[in-house]
Symmetry: C2
Subunit: 645 residues, 2 copies
């Protein structure tokens, strides 16, 4: 198929063209580049990526239905994306491009990486359009592309900061000035736009910029590392879409300058680290680089075993927005930037792709359902940048930040959720995340297959799947058994099935025919969770988890309870109840605990051990999912609670 | 007495002039100002300060002998002060003044508050000279004064940042640009120089600058608060020395703009807060301002009951160098800036002066013996800016910081130690801190009295005092019984004495004659200390304290022990031994504990509560005083240790 440059195809229109049948036809776009079929790629890899074991389903092949994530997606498209666009206009971020293009007169505004915020918004808008057409959003996005394209310099460079008197200062300080980071976000936005529309007009802007970069960076050219990693993922993706090896090589160049032998630097900036790892996983996916593989496995193990919050967050420290030392995981002082949790999910999704190992899906799920979602209000218009696990002063989300990377990262992440659910390999279809949805895709051999999934997940561990292959076909269905789940059972057409567990996926290999039904039951009791005792801040405390969700006690549900004193009883007998009226529908837990009444005498701050016992008072405490806190006005919250054994 | 401006009197020479007999004669200095006798002031108040209950002894009246502090003072004078001067020269901080004065050509260097570092060094040097003459240091200090004086602008203003093209930008951003903070440190340095020498030549520079400030700030002039408090203490002190009310009024103006009703802002910048409080205490000392008194008492109670580290440190957060919320006292992530602990000691010394209540001396002692001393190496040439209470990566002090406020604050603090030991009131003589020393002073009625103190404190709780009043005299000797001490006894001339405990001071009122001996025995067992359970990070943990000293386990004494796993046994049976060879003489403690061997399996980072038990191993652990850690190469350390009850 050939799409003339500038032709626009959106959402449902484009869906007509969606072949969803595996390896893509290539097409020629403007500039003489042969492009991968825009409908054929998942969010991180193509079927051709040599080291990818499980290829993600393209977003257009997944329809979210009435389940957990659909509401978030809809809110994001109808409220979050428009609200954030207004903020971007109000703060001059869009106007900057018009000013640089000479379309408008005004003053350039915002921090040095401001362009990336618009690009992330554009990626989010384009990705949202892939799931649902929205004419107004579509027109808006195209008008923004007009501004960005007009701001491109003749040599391909685009950045609204390094213009006018600073135009000679490009790449003067890669560590701090984020030019390549901005470039990467442009490439990702352009690819998302291409995927959503088939139009290459924004992609051509990105390609011109990328070609400028390949002329500028590399051996014998500028040889510095890129500062804030991000462009690596984007360059690999651009290579996937265009097939042009020089983008992959440039990604490899940046990665090799930064990534290897840096285990000692894992305590540094959380977002930079996780983006670097995600880029490295992309490199490994395309090249099989052994050094990359080794670094990925070692660093992942280090993070997972000692440097990640129970919410999937990364970043113990405000200073340097850094991950910190092993087991340095303060709750009240947690930084746990929303972007870092998003980056953690992105990294783990890539690790999942190249391994097919459910532990990466577990980590991704932990991040998505807890820290990532906590970063945004239920209506998707207010944001947390920092995500503490305990907060004893009234706190609430904000509509904007001077450094607003997290909100714009959120809109693109929520829009991409359908892309995280399903995958395929030469063996069959994989279900990574559970939600009511429909997959309309094909096996690797081209056989079309539809999978309908129905579940109350994450509130309930029952999942029903109906498979409709276009013709009877032998393949495996891989169902993830989450790491939190201690007992799972499966039926096929109502009969118990003893599946094989392979790296955390239950494999059901059989000859499937249309209408075959699979029932999965994941036991989902409330769990008291403890941390490794080296996490000193959690010593003697427990967190409450049910399924993938971490719970918290929020002040608004517990009036009069002193959250800082709150302890759970030895047997807190947690009682669950689904409350459809509350917080757009959440499961709540009630538990027995104790606190100290405000009027009770307290001893000195420091005193001989055992010399003073506070006057405890029994209380009933209500817990809600962590992600849902701070949606009812300013409030306080605690995740880890001391627990009498 | 009349001292011609520019006449220099130092140390032992000046001591000949020391009257040490109470209310000062006044003298006329250059500029027609009547100055207080330079020998008559303590470090924070004069005998005339109306609300001062206990006036501190002038430094020149106190001679430290072979005890705990003398070594620190000597090291500071002979190593720390010269080493820091070299750093100040190497980093252009002295040269800046020569450049501004036109004495040298060069580029101005350093952060906006750089002048304050030189002034703090000058204050330290001058104060050191008050205890010990040192011709080389004396000459050096005078040459630096030459440079500062030469850099003064015709209108009195001095600041090496706001000159040349920035000369029109004075006071453009008081919050961040520290001009008044720098001014305050100049005034304090000039007063210290005047006290040490009787020469008013530097004081005149300060007075000219202060007069510029009184012309510039105040009602109807610039009415902003001063940004980083510090100048308030200095202005009150300048008022004390000169008797000029306008300096006190300007201090009151700045304090009133910032201090009152700010209990809610107590979570902010730790050093700014504590300097503000110290200035407020000075204001109260001179005026009896009731609003000031109320704020001081309330805010002190708030800090002491919930926002101070066991080491006397302030500042839970790197972000904003802030104190943080009540009970937010992370150990590994503690900021606990050295300057904040110094400021805490300064504030509490002033509170002690206006109340005579030992709880302020307790807090001052806690800060001085723990956090303050930890801020400097044993040889006084390397520094910590941040003072964590747990550090699980190798860490060591540095010879300089880009923001080097702490080292220069340390030199002036160590030099001023003699001024913290003794006080007097109309009732008699007060002993605040115990150390082998000699006080040569007078009662308020003018009767000369010498107190000789001999003690092994803080290693040992026995204190012997010999009083030599010039003539038999009835007065009280007030001996502080520290808050950590649960049993104290006293003898007078070998006979048990039942003294009255007044606000933490044991009062011995009698008719004293030359050679009277007092024996004080402070029981000093090793204590396991717990924190209020609302300090979540210390839950289930204990710190080890003996006397005023907090102990820690340092990696260098505990090879092979995993400090992050280290727990103390329920009955750790701590055994004390004084090691004269170690760390210039410290008491060490040995205790039974346990850790997990490195090769032992560990469970997942998060797991169902009780589902995994680590393989514990019994270990013997050695503890040293917290202040002495990191003096034997890079090392790790922990103060709070989990403790099986």
């Amino acid at each position: 198929m050939r799409f003339p440059s500038g032709r626009r195809l959106y959402g449902l229109t484009a869906a007509i063209f969606a072949v969803c049948t595996g390896l893509a036809a290539t097409e020629s776009a403007g500039g003489g580049i042969v492009l991968l079929d825009h409908t054929s790629t998942g969010i991180t890899a193509t079927q051709k990526s040599p080291r990818v074991k499980v290829t993600p389903a393209p977003i257009r092949c997944v329809t979210l239905e009435d389940g957990f994530w659909k509401r978030w997606m809809e809110a994001n498209r109808t409220q979050g994306i428009p609200a954030l666009y207004r903020q971007l206009e109000d703060h001059g971020v869009v106007e900057n491009f018009r000013v640089v293009a000479g379309l408008s007169k005004g003053e350039l505004k915002g921090p040095v990486f401001r362009d990336s915020d618009l690009y992330k918004w554009m990626e989010g808008a384009a990705t949202a359009l892939e799931s649902s057409d929205d004419p107004e959003l579509r027109r808006l996005l195209e008008s923004v592309i007009d501004a960005v394209a007009a701001a491109q310099q003749p040599d391909g460079y685009v950045n609204t900061f390094f213009v006018n008197e600073l135009s000679g200062q490009r790449f003067r300080n890669l560590r701090d000035e984020h030019e390549l980071y901005c470039a990467g976000h442009m490439f990702q936005a352009a690819i998302a736009h291409y995927r959503a529309t088939g139009s290459a007009r924004f992609l051509e802007v990105a390609i011109r910029f990328a070609d400028y970069l390949t002329r500028t960076f590399g051996p014998g050219k500028i040889e510095q590392p890129d500062g804030h990693p991000e462009v690596e993922m984007a360059l690999v993706e651009l290579y996937r879409v265009t097939g042009r090896r020089e983008y992959l090589d440039l990604a490899a160049f940046f990665l090799k300058r930064q990534a290897f032998g840096k285990a000692g630097q894992i305590s540094g900036h959380a977002v930079r680290f996780a983006y670097l790892m995600a880029g490295l996983a992309d490199l490994y996916a395309e090249t099989g680089d052994r050094e990359a593989r080794q670094a990925l496995l070692e660093l992942w193990e280090d993070v997972a075993s000692g440097r990640v919050y129970i919410t999937g967050g990364l970043g113990a420290r405000y200073a340097g927005e850094a991950i910190g030392e092993r087991y340095e995981l303060p709750n009240e002082g947690a930084y746990s930037e929303t972007c870092a949790a998003i980056a953690n999910a992105m990294w783990n999704f890539r690790m999942l792709g190249v391994t097919g190992d459910a532990r990466y899906a577990d980590m991704m799920e932990r991040a998505l359902y807890n820290n990532v979602l906590a970063g945004v209000s239920l209506d998707t218009t207010h944001w947390f940048y920092v995500n503490p696990l305990a907060c004893f002063r009234d706190h609430q989300r904000q509509p904007w930040f001077g450094c607003t990377c997290c909100p714009t990262n959120m809109v693109r992440t929520l829009a991409a959720i359908p892309g995280y659910l399903y995958g395929r390999s030469s063996e069959g279809i994989w279900v990574h995340l559970y939600d009511t949805s429909r997959l309309s895709w094909a096996l690797v051999d081209g056989t079309k297959v539809t999978v309908r999934q129905k579940t109350g997940y994450p509130w309930d561990g029952r999942v029903e799947l109906t498979l409709d292959p276009a013709e009877e076909s032998t393949f495996s269905l891989f169902l993830r058994v989450p790491g939190w789940c201690q007992a799972a059972s499966v039926t096929v057409n109502g009969q118990p099935f003893e599946g094989r567990l392979r790296d955390g996926y239950l494999e059901i290999r059989r000859r499937w025919k249309a209408g075959d039904r699979v029932g999965l039951e994941l036991q989902m009791p409330v769990q008291l969770v403890e941390a490794d005792p080296r996490v000193r801040c959690n010593l003697g405390s427990v967190a409450v988890q049910r399924g993938p969700l971490v719970f918290c006690a929020e002040s608004v549900d517990n009036p009069g309870v002193n959250l800082r004193d709150l302890e759970l009883k030895a047997r807190p007998s947690l009682r669950a109840a689904f409350r459809p009226d509350l917080l757009q529908g959440v499961l709540t837990l009630r538990a027995k605990g104790r606190d100290v009444p405000p009027e009770a005498p307290r001893g000195p701050l420091y005193r001989p051990a055992g010399s003073f016992s506070p006057s405890w008072r029994d209380v009933e405490v209500t817990l809600i999912p962590y992600y849902a806190w701070a949606n009812r006005g300013p409030s306080q919250m605690v995740v880890w609670m001391p627990h009498a054994r």
